[in-house]
């Protein structure tokens, strides 16, 4: 394998303006929600007002009679999809369940569950028509709490569901035959925790809970579908993975993938939430019925209630350490609410917690539990923020009881190359310890807090990152520029990074590479824009196509110089004759001679890389708590992260900062408020309350470039992990400031006031 991590680069590490930039700052870029077709109808979705009910019947006759209404579809119009489990970005889903999720069959399983869809001349008429659809519900008791749902006498949401013992996250599992709302139980075990806890001088065991939260992408889900009279289905949407969604649609609609084309539009955020399909199915069905293109956009309330937020969780964590601070054992029980269908990210959470440390004895017992809430989906480092909030809070208490600096405790136990994760996998070369040490040496760490009610907290995090296949193609233009076709939707700057790697390999400027994102008929298979994998895997694809292009151009230079290709070299963007030093042509010069030496050159390649470099990070935060109101202000925040080789440092830093901001929201404000009937009470941005510019300080970063030895350009995933530590770090900082341990998220002002009054009252 070629490793060029220590090479000096010309393009990699610079900060060119992104290729899609001008279109995005002028409003020209077309996002899924902007897509428009002549003769297009508008669709709307009727959603369940109940969290749990049988559908006795649906009568759409009055809606269909409304002028301007063209068609209505319901779950009864869908074929029966296969009962088969597939991965969905660290969460999982089952085709049959997914079909039931996009249009309910016999039951509605959460408030907001799609029941029917209408196509009309305008969105306003479609909305009017929704009110005319009569649904006869038999309302059932909702099951709304994970721990309650696990009990043997709980109402069963899926009466035939049995507990599957999962050996690994996506293992089909051993069926225990026990009927339960517990869909899966996964156990990770390393060493012997009983022996480990016996060695410990200090043991801390605590319980935690976290609320449901949403990714909060600004562009709502949308889909425009045209089921053409030749039987082909084309979908224009906002997607984190067109090939994956093509497969999902093929399974739900019972069509071959060859009849479906997904055309990715620009995507206005996703963070995991735009991996599954939702509106694509009803839009396609409505188009089939009407023969016209149909567009459906979600409202913000539909996004909150009807897509895939991140699981609410309950957990119990126990850790033990010797007097000198060596962690001897760690145990966790994780209960993740999957929502209406199985497939939470509990397995990924189990894999992510404790992983920053070398611990020989670990047991993690994870439960995937269905409740009458929306089906959870991936959200940035899926499952891991919830688990690490718990484990990093316990780490802080361990440090306190040991009388150690919490960062020092982490440094003492930092996992390194060759150490094992709880699932037995050994860590590759990475910069975990370096992040901790750089943070300890930082100005922030050495600074004074400078006031009362202020505190400082630290927390670490791990995220494994993903690999997944990628394909791209390049075509060489006569002027020496290069067209670069990709198939991975660019959600945050990957396009410029991928183009920069191509430019680096070819010895041309980043601006001379013209990247574009293609539809599923125009490029080879690409995995999800998820798992922090897009730049990594497309870097591999670019490495392949540029190597092949250079080899082809070498033969052209050889032809010009009447020699053998072996006698032609290529370095720093220049082809040269090894024999005659005066013979040389730049990439651009030779590109201009392709027509006369055998014709144009274009190259395509598909790769399926392994060796996604894992991410490690440690965060430091200063807070000030107002003891009167319980409001927490973030005074200063520094994230130290191993980011591998940075291709475009600004966008790497932006990913780190963006995850921190989401983590701060998760820590302090964001949550789904459900009433006792399972209805979300705060389904608007105002009431859900994502952080605004005013809520956050400048976000500082320490970017440790520990090149991924398993990547040609040293890339490791950078995008997700930064959302993992903020909750633990802030909780620890609040304790440091005012002496209360906040063990359930969010750490909202009213909870802090209550905790303070309990603390003061007990004195």
């Amino acid at each position: 394998m070629t490793t060029v991590g220590d090479k000096k680069y010309k393009i990699i590490g610079t900060r060119p303006i992104r290729h899609d930039g001008a279109d995005k700052v002028t409003g020209r870029a077309v996002y899924g929600i902007d897509y428009h077709m002549t003769g297009m109808l508008w669709g709307k979705i009727l959603r369940s007002p109940h969290a749990h009910a049988n559908i006795r019947g649906i009568d759409a006759r009055k809606a269909l009679a409304l002028p301007g209404v063209h068609a209505v579809v319901t779950g009864q119009d869908l074929p029966v999809a296969a009962d088969r489990e597939v991965e969905a970005g660290e969460t999982s889903l089952n085709y049959m369940h997914l079909s039931d999720n996009v249009l309910a069959g016999k039951k509605v399983l959460y408030k907001g569950h799609a029941v029917a869809a209408v196509a009309a001349d305008s969105a306003h008429i479609a909305e009017e028509a929704l009110a005319l659809i009569e649904v006869d519900y038999e309302v059932l008791t909702p099951v709304l709490d994970g721990r309650e749902a696990m009990k043997a006498d709980s109402t069963l949401i899926h009466p035939e569901q049995t507990i599957k013992a999962l050996a690994f996250r996506f293992d089909p599992g051993t069926d225990t035959g026990v009927k339960s709302n517990i869909a899966g139980r996964s156990v990770l075990k390393l060493g012997d925790i009983d022996a480990g806890f016996k060695e410990a001088d200090v043991v801390v065991e605590r319980e935690f809970s976290t609320s449901w939260v949403h990714q909060g992408y600004i562009e709502a889900q949308n889909a425009t579908a045209l089921w053409s009279s030749d039987g082909t289905l084309t979908v224009w949407n906002s997607s984190q993975g067109t090939f994956n969604q093509r497969q999902l649609l093929a399974e739900i609609l019972k069509q071959p993938v060859s009849m479906i084309k997904m055309v990715p539009q620009e995507i206005g955020g996703g963070f995991g939430g735009k991996i599954p399909v939702y509106l694509e199915v009803p839009a396609a069905m409505l188009s089939k019925k009407t023969g016209r293109p149909v567009k459906i956009n979600m409202t913000r309330t539909e996004v909150f209630e009807g897509t895939g937020p991140a699981s609410g969780t309950e957990s119990r964590v126990k850790m033990g350490a010797t007097k000198d601070g060596k962690i001897t054992a760690a145990y966790a029980e994780l209960v993740y609410e999957a929502g209406a269908f199985p497939g939470s990210a509990v397995g990924a959470g189990a894999q992510g917690m404790f992983t920053s440390y070398k611990i020989d004895n670990v047991l993690i017992d994870g439960y995937d539990v269905v409740v009458n809430k929306p089906k959870s989906a991936a959200y940035r480092s899926p499952g891991t923020p919830q688990a690490c909030f718990a484990s990093e809070s316990v780490m802080d208490e361990l440090a306190e009881q040991l009388g150690m600096d919490p960062l020092e405790l982490r440094i003492k136990n930092a996992a390194g190359e060759g150490d094992r994760r709880a699932d037995g996998v050994q860590h590759p070369s990475m910069g975990n310890l370096e992040c901790m040490e750089r943070l300890m040496a930082s100005d922030h760490y050495k600074s004074d807090l400078g006031g009362p009610n202020r505190g400082r907290g630290v927390a670490s995090g791990y995220w494994g990152n993903a690999g997944m296949p990628a394909s791209c193609s390049i075509s060489i233009n006569p002027d020496g520029t290069v067209g670069l076709a990709e198939g991975s939707p660019d959600i945050g700057g990957s396009r410029v990074a991928i183009a920069m790697m191509a430019a680096e390999a070819l010895g041309i400027a980043a601006e001379d590479v013209h990247p574009s994102i293609k539809d599923t008929d125009s490029i080879g298979y690409n995995g999800l824009t998820a798992g922090s994998s897009t730049t990594l895997r497309n870097g591999w694809a670019v490495f392949e196509v540029t190597n092949q292009a250079i080899a082809l151009m070498t033969t052209r230079a050889a032809r010009l110089w009447e020699t053998e290709p072996d006698n032609v070299g290529f370095a720093d963007g220049v082809f040269f004759s090894k024999a005659e030093k005066e013979l040389k042509l730049t990439f651009k010069q030779l590109a201009g001679k392709l027509m006369e030496t055998g014709g144009p050159i274009s190259v395509a390649a598909s790769v399926a890389p392994r060796g996604a470099g894992p991410s490690f990070t440690t965060h430091l935060v200063d807070v000030e708590v107002d003891p009167e109101t319980g409001k927490v202000d973030i005074l200063r925040y520094t994230a130290a992260q191993d980011v591998g080789t940075m291709i475009h440092p600004s966008y790497v830093e932006g990913q780190v900062q963006g995850g921190v901001a989401q983590g701060i929201g998760w820590a302090l404000n964001e949550e789904y408020f459900f009433d006792d009937k399972g209805r979300m009470l705060n389904s608007s941005y105002l009431d859900y309350r994502v952080p605004t510019m005013l809520d956050l300080p400048a976000l500082e970063t320490i970017l440790v470039e520990h090149a991924n030895p398993d990547h040609p350009f040293g890339v490791r995933g950078v995008a997700e992990i930064s959302v993992v530590p903020p909750m633990g770090a802030i909780s620890n900082a609040i304790y440091n400031a005012v002496g209360v341990r906040m063990r359930n998220l969010p750490m909202a002002p009213h909870k802090i006031v209550k905790a303070l009054s309990e603390k003061n009252g007990s004195k």
């Binding site: 930039g21 700052v25 002028t26 600004i218 959600i491 945050g492 901001a661």
Partner: protein
């Protein structure tokens, strides 16, 4: 039965613009679905995210909260009116140079809101910028680079309106 439409006359990005709209259509719908100016983005459609920010008679408004008929006689400026044939506006350039966008869906709203700020207050403090733009949500960047871009744009513009 079709709803009767209202004839509305405005000045949009410096040009006299007329449109027909239904009484229940918001200005955002008119811009996007009638005039096909999709640079003004829809984020929440309930006035909480600022993605649909436009300038209406010198004030920034969430166009999802304004009815199309209310724009009668108004001067409107949308993201499509910020750049000139000569090139990008310094604010747009600053957003690009500072990597102040990731997915970019909130960017038009931020730029329109920033332009209104810098026309009023050429040299705002960071605190003032954070206060002025608090009605514009961004979920990707953590805002850090947006603030830097606005400071950068203010410096480039040198207090010129």
């Amino acid at each position: 039965m079709a709803i009767s439409k209202t004839h509305v006359r405005t000045t949009l990005n410096g040009e006299a613009t007329e449109y027909l709209c239904e009484p229940n259509q918001s200005l955002l719908e008119v811009l996007r679905d009638v005039l096909l100016l999709t640079g003004t983005k829809e984020g929440c459609n309930d006035g909480n995210c600022g993605a649909c920010t436009v300038n209406m008679d010198g004030r920034i408004v969430d166009s999802c909260l304004v009815l199309g008929v209310e724009a009668e006689g108004c001067k409107l400026m949308t993201i499509e009116g910020v750049a000139t044939p000569e090139g990008l506006h310094p604010i747009q350039q600053a957003f690009l140079e500072n990597a102040a966008l990731q997915c970019g869906i909130c960017t038009p709203g931020f730029i329109v809101a920033t332009k209104a700020l810098l026309e009023k207050e050429p040299s705002p403090t960071e605190a003032r910028i954070r206060h002025w733009l608090a009605g514009n949500l961004c979920r990707c960047t953590g805002y850090d680079k947006i603030v830097k871009a606005v400071v950068d744009a203010a410096n480039t513009m040198g207090g010129k309106k």
